[in-house]
């Protein structure tokens, strides 16, 4: 299982990388960590005529705290982010999700940008950044734009990036101190591809749940947030009955997915259970007791 033939270049800086992208457009692929791309090449599932190696662009490897947001360079590796005190403080759901992302060795080389641009429907980070309300900064040789997460992830393996655009930064708004969060995943074994991944964020104000975000990945579709589940909780005091309602809404509104590894009924059942668990964890973290 060896890669097919391709041309290769390693641009010395971002400008040169963007020039290369605009020149070669859809026929070129960006190489960052390579742990998603190279297996595809080894299987000869894709055959790009050119690889543009951006893995060493240190100008895109950073974690910067500013103005109530966290700016993460797209080529920052997963393990760097996982270990960052700034990330732990600003968006702890990311740190909670990270142990589920591939495994340690892959996280040494894999980058957040590479992960998000690949948008495998079992990947956790697209869900996490969507729940966080992050925006993606995309740049091409001619322009720059900011894309909301909702718009960025269009379909499994498809993002909103144009052929000449590169994701250069992920901007994560800081959440209020003391916010509730939880990330849970079910896979056949620890470390395997997620069958269902689930995440939630909420803030408690005057004893009620606000700004509730509940989302899933089901390994088949894009999924992400489930408004009906969020609405069951939004503005209400957390109680067993309200959490039940949210769980039921999550299960019912999860996009149906049956594949080799799990059928639709199983996924719905797990979604309900994960909702129960993660809302309780999130409320506990936010210091909110659940009325039973």
């Amino acid at each position: 299982m060896k890669p097919p033939v391709f041309e290769y270049e390693r641009p010395p800086n971002l400008r040169a990388a963007l020039d290369a992208l605009s020149k070669h457009g859809g026929k070129a692929k960006l190489l960052a960590g390579g742990h998603s791309l190279i297996p595809l090449l080894n299987l000869r599932l894709i055959s790009p005529s050119r690889l543009i190696d951006v893995g060493r662009l240190s100008e895109l490897q950073y974690i910067i705290e500013e103005f109530g947001q966290l700016r993460i360079g797209a080529l920052t590796t997963h393990n760097t982010i996982l270990r960052s005190p700034a990330v732990a403080a600003g968006c702890p759901i990311m740190v909670e999700a990270y142990p589920h992302v591939a495994n340690h060795s892959i996280r040494n080389r894999g980058t957040l940008g590479g992960n998000l641009c690949h948008n495998d429907p079992a990947f956790e980070m697209p869900l996490v950044v969507t729940l966080l309300g992050a925006s993606m900064v995309a740049r091409s040789a001619r322009s720059s734009r900011t894309i909301t997460a909702e718009r960025f992830f269009k379909a499994p393996f498809v993002t909103d990036l144009a052929a000449d655009e590169m994701l250069i930064e992920v901007r994560v708004p800081r959440l209020p101190a003391g916010h509730g969060y939880s990330f849970l995943e079910v896979s056949q074994r620890y470390g395997d591809r997620a069958l269902i991944a689930a995440g939630c964020l909420l803030t408690i104000r005057y004893g009620t749940c606000r700004d509730v975000r509940i989302g899933f990945r089901n390994a088949v579709h894009n999924v992400f947030r489930i408004p009906a589940a969020e609405a069951a909780l939004e503005g209400k005091a957390a109680s067993a009955a309200v959490i039940d309602a949210a769980a039921e809404a999550a299960a019912k509104n999860l996009t149906a997915a049956s594949d080799l590894h799990a059928d639709e009924a199983y996924r719905r059942d797990v979604a309900a259970t994960l909702t129960q668990r993660m809302l309780r964890i999130a409320c506990a973290r936010a210091g909110q007791a659940i009325a039973e």
Partner: protein, 162 residues
């Protein structure tokens, strides 16, 4: 596809070679440099048998192009020790029966070398969690965990971390 020149430091020695860009790091190490201790199991990033250290970090060499190691340092199992001078990890694996067929072993040793450098005193749970990266079809893993624990004991008596 044009050839490129790469300069890679392997186990502390500099090598310069002309290679195709598509040459995998696993094939570079095994066939260009001739160090066959790094093994290939899946060429899909799943099994970890091909694990080497790239600038000190565990990496799957079958999912890395040799050209990505240009100007970088690679460490393979051959750097750990010789038969009459095994590293604590190698010694631990020997004493605690951490291998049977030996095929996954180099990958395990490199993965655990990284762990013990970052944390010379990991508990069993930490070892097990890290071990999740790699597959062994022979041992059932318990003896590998015990081998790493034994290495930690040996290291306490031997300050140099290899």
């Amino acid at each position: 596809m044009s050839d490129l020149e790469v300069n890679v430091t392997v186990n502390g020695r500099p090598f310069r070679r002309r290679i195709e860009p598509r040459l995998l790091l696993s094939d570079f190490v095994r066939h260009e440099i001739g160090l066959t201790g790094t093994h290939v199991g899946c060429e899909n990033g799943v099994c970890g048998a091909c694990t080497v250290l790239l600038d000190g970090l565990a990496a799957r060499s079958c999912c890395t192009l040799a050209v990505q190691a240009d100007g970088r340092s690679v460490e393979t199992v051959e750097s750990l020790g010789r038969v009459n001078n095994l590293s604590p990890l190698q010694r631990g694996f020997w004493e605690k029966h951490g291998l049977q067929c030996g095929y996954c072993t180099p990958g395990m040793l490199m993965l655990m070398t990284e762990l013990l450098r970052e944390n010379p005193n990991p508990d069993r749970e930490t070892i097990r969690t890290r071990l999740n990266d790699n597959i062994c079809r022979c041992t059932g893993y318990e003896d590998i965990v015990s081998s790493v624990e034994r290495a930690v004991e040996l290291m306490r008596g031997d300050k140099a971390v290899r």
